[in-house]
Symmetry: C3
Subunit: 392 residues, 3 copies
């Protein structure tokens, strides 16, 4: 191993230790939200119920996103290890920064942890675009640069007061679209010899793992959207989310066959989830019937994205979107944001918030891409052999 | 793609949209059960706790049944896609029909959603019999025909008053036996050249996925049986269910070796679950010791089913039961129903309910099989190549 | 099948039935802890919340430990079947023995079931050491011998009053270290021709299953540590646990590369979990910053264990530790116990408890190993072909 590599590794270890030490003086910030009128006992129960959902979201982060990204041939170990690493760095990093910058942020509050998970989800979406083009140290660096940008956008849209009335409880815009356009920013202008983009190798067993990831996301998506809604809204939010997923799954099946003649398992694994992305903005305010229809639109658009739009986008930004995050999270996220207009009635604020999010995401993604490539750039996609011991 | 195919696909899209639109006028039916005396806050908490179980059941539907059915060689994509599709069509369809026919059914109630999941579980059991003999459009059509029949039987047994006192809280009869005998009805009289029935290919990795599905079902089965019991009965129901699964798992191990000399992994993956099927009827009223004994009986009968009884049943109905649903859900479901006599003491009602369920399931399954085959029938089992893009 | 084999199998069936019958007279012991002052309704809700965690722990037992052990080439069916069997025998056996020996133990109490799951977890850790050296009947016999030893140690350390003040709420010592040193006891002095120890075959898909197991353990670990803490401590316990896992994951990445030059996926799958092991003793009393630092230490020690210490330990005990349970559960468990000194301040009691646990575990493991080998010993590792039907 080169000396540079060793320095990098020791740097990562030091950053981890510094994050740990950084939390120690912050502990006095403890304490629950004083405004609540429910008794301590009921509050404890509500927190425990949110805890259950936070574990569901954790399953989405690791098993869900992790295995949805193993479809690339000979890149399975890299995908799951990258997932482990970016989750492990981003959860505490988000909470550390917010502890020192957020007014009412307590590191021992379950809401804070769920917000950190949302940031990690957005980050995992972002790395889907350059997946296979980066080595492990670069994923970690990308994570460290992503989190402050995500917190900035979260503050501008949801906390600064600039976009009061912006509707996005399940994160269609600030989580999904932000992650997708950040990822597109990272890969923009990197097109070189990557013509033979690794495709979903659907004749091998590795695609079965991709389906495991997809199903884990589908199953726990209702906990993602309902994690931070009021206790009385959990059930309706969950049913709306499931109905949107049902609509998207059926539309994906219809459109994958109409567009391609046969079924592409990659479409089923991905576009079926677009309903969950799009319902995010209105998940607690719409009704099941509309939820199905939103899901149908999202599934159809996403499938058309994978079949028709993706090549054009890749040409436009001059970069390869390995996991098709623009199709699954970008467009459906924006669609979800637009559906929010029907709820809030405030088209200007809703569209403004979407545009600002997309711009911030893409610009910071672009800058991050330039910095990350200082650690090296490879002409052909990475395979597990590059960084893993694969011969015993 | 043929014109007929396109019409079918657009038909499926329209049905999805119609289901969505169908819900819209129904929203005024909202509101919780007014009879409850618990406060609104406690009711909200109970609903959230049921929501957790509904997600566990969702995991059983997709990851559990989906991957338990991937054991057929070169049929993995078809199995998981069929699972996705029939779940996505049956959940909203069940809730839509019940909204317009059920007296106290509210689409925003968590109990309603769990009942819809039970219907989807029964449907997934049913498609286990013809698995590998149908194409995707046929699975969807089967789902659309299954749900009304399931609702009819559910009404006759549990709501009409004809079988007052029938004991089946965990669905041994109305979910498991109904699904199994419906599936057997679908395949009855289809035996032609299917002599070389695809077997569990247990020398390949695909069987490991089968075990993942089996374990997901085992783990979350306590949430299936306890999803709709009274809050105070959740723990005893869960412990009874787990003890029944333990008894069945150990009995399956003993009987697979006694009957075959060696261990058949297919038996372990399937018959170990028979305890969960059989305990359903008495899961909240028996005690852990009896639960183990019920599990031992169910595991033994199921294993004997796979080794000895299955070929005779297939000859009798002149059809192939691909997943052996008769062994896992049919016989153990009926056994569970019979155990219910010890609880209710009303042998006549219990046996009557079982017989009516089996007859309705088989007859409607038979009719459904005839209708489904109007869309085409293949002489040899389907493989993924028939409907999926498998070469890149 | 030989006559001896049949007698063994029928013996296992009889033991199962006896366990079932053994519970029947015990049912009068029912009833909740009378000391609680919370109302019945709130108590029911707390129990339901604990039930959710017990299902998470069940997922760790089957999917987690089961698939973490499938990395051995051609031993996948054996690993998962052994997991199914030892879980199925140990859960009811633990509860049966405790019902007749424990003062306040009720078989219908959720706490009792979670304690049984902890025993099963410790047992699964123990069989990781001899994995691949035993046949199915031997795993079952090992389970039957393990449980009384585990209960004895649990009583001495936590209930007898000999070690009042011993800090170990998440089981670093009594669950993890006990299981690991019991397993090392089983394999001690068995070294013969096992020079070609089966290695993690990380160029095959079977390792992806290993990662699934690892992720399931990572995701649900917070429910393991928080399962029995006071309701108000659930959130802080969970956040501490996750932060410890984050620290261990990052440290594992750094140390696997520093020690080996490249990344060993086996290290990532295992050592990343060492943070969860080590945090156990102080999971509800420390703060997130210290939790990260404990995780870093545990991950680093565990990775160094896999790379440097393991060969020396195997030479010392003259036996092969197939899964490296000493690296993942033994050393991190002891480290966790030592961290407990900073909380309790009682170094003597803490160190005394650790030493007693290690000695009891190793001695009873040694005795168990001798008894288990009476059923036969094989010179080369087992493969699935020995006991499973693998050709169709």
């Amino acid at each position: 191993m080169s000396k540079n590599n060793k320095i990098l590794l020791i740097g990562i270890l030091l950053i981890t230790i510094i994050i740990g030490i950084g939390f120690i003086p912050a502990m006095h910030q403890e304490g629950h939200d004083p405004e609540t009128e429910t008794s301590q006992e009921i509050q404890t129960i509500y927190d425990s119920l949110k805890y259950e959902k936070s574990i569901h979201v954790l399953a989405m982060l690791l098993l869900g996103f992790g295995f949805l990204m193993v479809f690339i041939r000979k890149h399975g170990f890299s995908s799951v290890t990258a997932t482990f690493l970016v989750v492990s760095i981003s959860l505490p990093l988000y909470m550390l920064i917010k502890t020192y910058t957020g007014d009412e942020f307590s590191i021992t509050n379950i809401d804070s942890f769920i917000l950190a998970e949302f940031a990690a989800a957005s980050l995992l979406i972002a790395i889907g675009a350059p997946l296979g083009r980066l080595k492990m140290d670069q994923y970690i660096l990308l994570a460290i640069l992503f989190i402050p940008a995500y917190i900035l956008n979260e503050w501008i849209i949801l906390e600064s007061g600039m976009f009061t009335g912006f509707v996005d409880v399940g994160g269609s815009v600030v989580i999904h679209a932000f992650g997708a356009y950040f990822g597109l920013g990272v890969v923009a202008n990197t097109m070189s010899k990557f013509e033979n983009q690794p495709e979903c190798e659907n004749n091998s067993l590795s695609n079965q793992f991709c389906i495991v990831g997809s199903m884990v996301l589908w199953i726990f998506w209702p906990s993602f959207t309902s994690a931070l809604v009021a206790p009385g809204e959990v059930v309706i939010t969950a049913i709306n989310t499931i109905f949107a997923l049902c609509g998207a799954t059926l539309a994906t099946y219809v459109f994958t066959r109409l567009m391609r003649g046969k079924i592409e398992i990659e479409d089923i694994a991905n576009a079926a989830l677009a309903g969950g992305v799009a319902i995010g903005s209105v998940c607690n305010t719409t009704t099941p019937g509309y939820a199905i229809l939103i899901g149908v639109v999202a599934g159809a658009v996403s499938t058309i994205g994978y079949t028709v739009i993706a090549p054009k986008v890749e040409k436009l930004i001059r970069g390869t979107d390995t996991c098709g995050v623009h199709n699954l999270h970008g467009m459906p996220g924006v669609i979800g944001g637009i559906f929010g207009i029907f709820i809030s009635g405030a088209a200007g604020i809703q569209i403004g918030g979407i545009v600002v999010t997309v711009v911030i995401a893409f610009v910071f993604g672009k800058i991050t891409g330039i910095i990350v490539r200082l650690l090296g750039q490879k002409e052909i996609p990475y395979s597990d052999e590059d960084e893993f011991i694969t011969s015993h």
